[in-house]
């Protein structure tokens, strides 16, 4: 990866290895159990990877269990759609869920436990 990437790593922000890309089903997700709560790691049809707090902004449904389509996931409880890249609910619903930095290198998925984008509550 890029030099900047390596620099950040050296600076002590840690990327954690969580598994292999092929362990996550295409158009699916797997859960990473983290100290502050579950994180859902998604893999789209094009092998893009995204990570979201595994809690729907509506009523906390586990997004990892939803149907993944395009860059969205449909929450299993009441079918809100959440954008995987921003964590925002698809309009007209309103709300958002935290995203986490992820990257894939040589088929290995790395994650950083740094929630972004939304207040974690």
């Amino acid at each position: 990866m890029s030099g900047a990437q390596a620099m950040r790593e050296r600076a002590g922000e840690s990327w954690i290895e969580v598994g292999r890309l092929e362990d996550i089903p295409r158009r699916g997700a797997r859960v990473v159990k983290a100290p502050d709560g579950d994180i859902a790691v998604f893999r789209t049809a094009d092998d893009e990877v995204y990570a979201l707090r595994d809690r729907c902004p509506h009523r906390g449904g586990p997004l990892s269990q939803g149907i993944v389509h395009d860059r969205k996931v449909a929450c299993p409880l009441h079918d809100w759609k959440i954008h995987l890249d921003s964590g925002e609910a698809v309009a007209p619903d309103e709300g958002c869920t935290a995203t986490f930095p992820v990257r894939v290198e040589d088929g290995v998925v790395y994650l950083r436990l740094e929630p972004r984008g939304c207040e974690e509550g």
Binding site: G28, V32, K33, P35
Partner: protein, 817 residues
């Protein structure tokens, strides 16, 4: 700059309807600001009754949410009550100091519920019935077995009482007079209504005057003038409303009972318009939406500077919204000097009709039990039609004017084009028919969206459905709903299925490519549908796509609100053994299952299981001989049975065995929606077979087969299909019926709506008349079952789809430090 400023005070039904009408006529004329005292957008106040009864949710009754205002550039100050109108400066000011200048002002402040002046009327637990806040307070106070006292036996009081009754309360309605709804009903209809409500569990204290409400801080009881005291945890005052004119009066506008307006809906200050319940027009105030919507049309016409419309007052009709009670009333329903009454009373059927005539014209009408002709009578009344020629048939309804009537469709067919169908929104038959034909509408939802008919109180739904049936004729029954499957495609369910069949499409990506899907990989609506169509079409060949299954079917367990799962093992025909029960008990204990519950489908539910634990539980259940109950799937669920001739003194056949045989035949099949079966041992029908998708009722001479029942949201009793003699014949019909449904219904369409769409005659033709066809269907079902009857739990307990049940990684504290 440049645009004139319009301010609306009161964002309720009349005011907002005026804005909607105005925006159609002149979308850009004004810069609009709206003040509303309630902390919501605009909602359908009428439907507070079904919300209270738990038949509708609050979200479902919103008419204009905040986004609606935002999209139209309208400023909404919700939760702000306007307390002052400065007519000289042309500014309104709210309690919190917010100001808005206006060029035109529209007042629509509605009315206030009357609170009777008795001691204790300010105690906690004493409420009125007017807005969302009131409903929330009532729901909070409601509780199984608690006492509610509703003061007032009018429309509102009865709807409140019914709602609280549905919420499990013990409800007493107190009425000052000896007759319920005396403003709408004559003695006979009122007595029939009272009896029907009593049968449902309401109690009445007629001719009782409330003297005091008892209690310290909270209400504890009610005392009447005759000394009687009854306990109360909740008191609802529903004794009437009075126009809310305080604001207008303080601003110096001429008010009597209401804000006085002219035929152009202007107050005495020509810059200020008023509509709705706060208004008094030609001496009359109104308390129903239909006239208010007529006022809204007129006010909008003038605000839009067209200036041609005049409001000349309205005739009103009333319907009661208590589920299962049909009641219609209009005009002078009592009659008197110079009138004569036509009466029809059929106590056995619970029907009462009364028409009041003056000079051979209908001037009033009360209908109880059969209200379908209400719209017609109301039309004759408004038009002042001379009815002498049809007098003899009048009471039997419009359909009887020509030949012998054939139900609702004929009745609506005979209505003139300008007959009003939807009283709430003033939509005529002609408008609906035009919308259906010109815009190609097929469903009630579509008609609601395009015309607003049937979208307010819903009491004209049957008429609208009949109009759909009449207008589309054969099409309504036969034509596939032309609706695209979902926004990802323009093709309908039927077209997609046909393409899969005709072009041998064998995977979801193939279907999407072939039919040029508009999205890269579909959505949560179409992917499960496609997966099902492929499973059904290519049994044994198609490789199921777990990622296109809803989580319940992917995990073979029901997801719960907290993200845990439930496990329901199959209990064949509902018959079990001590050993089986012991095995379930042991599994529950060993795995610390928090809740064990008997389901409504004669089996046992283990609730609250974390996903990771599912395979272990299934392994133990499999060891004890259990297979999946598919309680989570669009699949064959349960076969409910009764004890039948094995034990029951009335049983005519062995219904339990029949049920077990059917369940062994049908389990494991994927279907368009869930399928439930039932077998009863005699026509007493203890297994409720006549509300099942496939129901069997034993009789002395064999078995009656019934299809298309549903006990869910919209209850539907089955249609009788055929009588057969042997268990083998029942099995053949069952297999053939299920296969026909599997092959032809739309995904997520249960058998009840499917049969209503294709018609029972069609199903009978395919299954009963075409014997060879039936055999072929049954054979296809059995072939498909060879591949489907593999227990998914056992497979997973042995390690299939393991990733589904394990986290990708568990990060411990130190790994992340």
């Amino acid at each position: 700059m440049g645009r004139e400023r319009l301010v609306l005070v009161g964002n309720g039904m009349a005011g907002m309807r005026t804005l909607e009408e105005l925006l159609v006529l002149a979308p850009d004329l004004y810069e609009i600001t709206v003040f509303g005292a309630e902390p919501h957008g605009n909602y359908n106040r009428i439907l507070l009754s079904p919300v209270l009864a738990g038949e509708k949710r609050l979200e479902e009754i919103m008419l204009n949410d905040e986004a609606w205002y935002a999209e139209r550039g309208i400023t909404l100050h919700k939760g702000r009550e306007v307390t002052e109108i400065d007519r000289a400066r042309r500014v309104v000011r709210a309690a919190d100091g917010t100001e808005a200048p206006y060029d035109r002002l529209l007042l629509a402040t509605g009315s206030l519920p009357v609170v009777i002046p008795v001691p204790g009327n300010d105690l906690e637990g004493v409420v009125t019935f007017r807005d969302i806040g009131d409903v929330e307070r009532m729901i909070a106070a409601a509780g199984e077995g608690r006492h509610a006292v509703v003061i007032g036996g009018g429309l509102l009081g009865l709807e409140a009482a019914y709602g609280l009754l549905k919420r499990g309360m013990d409800v007493t309605v107190v009425h000052l007079l000896d007759r319920l709804m005396e403003k709408q009903l004559d003695g006979t209809a009122a007595a029939m209504l009272k009896r029907a409500l009593e049968e449902r569990g309401l109690k009445f204290l007629m001719e009782h005057e409330t003297e005091a409400i008892l209690g310290e801080r909270r209400v504890e009881g009610v005392r009447f003038a005759n000394g009687l005291e009854i306990p109360a945890d909740l008191v609802v005052m529903a004794v009437g409303i009075r126009p809310n004119v305080e604001l207008a009066r303080r601003a110096g506008l001429h008010c009597e009972r209401g804000v006085v307006v002219s035929d152009t809906m202007q107050t005495y200050d020509p810059r200020i318009y008023a509509v709705g319940e706060c208004v008094q027009h030609r001496g009359v105030t109104y308390g129903l939406v239909a006239p208010l919507f007529e006022q809204a049309k007129v006010a909008a016409n003038h605000l839009a500077r067209i200036g041609t419309a005049r409001y000349e007052g309205s005739l009103v009709s009333t319907k009661l919204k208590v589920t299962g009670i049909d009641l219609f009333s209009a005009g002078d329903y009592l009659g008197g000097e110079g009138t004569e009454s036509l009466l029809l009373q059929d106590a056995a059927q619970g029907i009462y009709k009364k028409l009041v005539l003056r000079n051979s014209r209908i001037v009033g009408c009360v209908l109880y039990g059969d209200t379908l002709d209400g719209a017609w009578y109301f039309q004759l009344m408004r038009d002042g039609t001379d009815v002498s020629a049809m007098r003899a048939q009048l009471l039997f309804g419009q359909a009887h004017l020509g030949d012998a009537g054939h139900g609702e469709v004929e009745r609506v067919a005979a209505l003139p084009d300008d007959a009003e169908i939807c009283g709430c929104n003033g939509v005529s038959k002609g408008e609906i028919v035009r919308a259906i034909t010109e815009k190609g509408l097929f469903t009630l939802e579509e008609v609601r969206a395009h015309t607003k008919a049937s979208s307010s109180c819903g009491s004209c739904t049957a008429l609208v459905e009949a109009l759909l049936a009449h207008t589309l004729g054969g099409d309504y029954e036969q034509s596939p709903a032309k609706k695209p499957m979902c926004p990802c495609t323009d093709y309908s369910h039927d077209e997609v299925r046909q393409a899969i069949r005709d072009n041998a499409l064998k995977s979801i990506p193939e279907v999407m490519r072939f039919l040029e899907w508009k999205t890269p990989d579909g959505c949560s609506k179409c992917r499960p549908a496609l997966n099902y169509y492929l499973v059904c079409q290519w049994p044994g060949e198609y490789r199921d796509d777990p990622q296109s299954r809803f989580i319940n079917e992917r995990a073979h367990a029901n997801i719960q609100k907290d993200g845990t799962y439930s496990v329901v093992p199959r209990i064949w025909g509902g018959e079990t053994t001590p050993a089986q029960l012991r095995a379930i008990a042991e599994v529950a204990e060993r795995h610390q299952v928090p809740t064990v519950k008997i389901t409504g489908g004669q089996r046992i539910d283990l609730l609250g299981v974390p996903k990771e634990k599912l395979p272990a539980i299934w392994a133990d259940l499999a060891a004890a001989g259990f297979v999946s109950g598919h309680a989570y799937g669009k699949a064959v669920r349960t076969v409910k049975t009764c004890v039948g001739s094995q034990w029951c003194r009335f049983g005519t056949q062995d219904s339990t065995q029949m049920g077990i045989r059917l369940e062994k035949l049908a389990w494991g099949a994927w279907t368009p929606h869930k399928v439930k079966l039932g077998v009863s041992g005699c026509p007493r029908n203890c297994a409720e077979a006549t509300i099942k998708d496939f129901g069997v009722v034993a009789v002395e001479s064999g078995w009656e087969i019934h299809v298309g029942g549903n006990g869910g949201v919209k209850v539907r009793a089955t249609d009788f299909l055929v009588h057969v003699r042997t268990m083998e014949e029942v099995e053949e019909y069952c297999a053939a019926f299920l296969q026909l449904y599997r092959e032809e219904a739309h995904y997520l369409e249960r058998t009840a709506p499917w049969i209503e769409r294709v018609g029972l005659a069609y199903v009978r033709q395919r299954l009963v008349e075409d014997e060879e066809g039936r055999r072929a269907l049954a054979a296809r079902f059995r072939e498909s079952q060879r591949h489907a009857q593999v227990d998914p739990w056992a497979e997973r307990a042995r390690g299939a789809e393991a990733h589904e049940f394990r986290p990708l990684k568990a990060l411990t504290e130190e790994a992340t430090a």
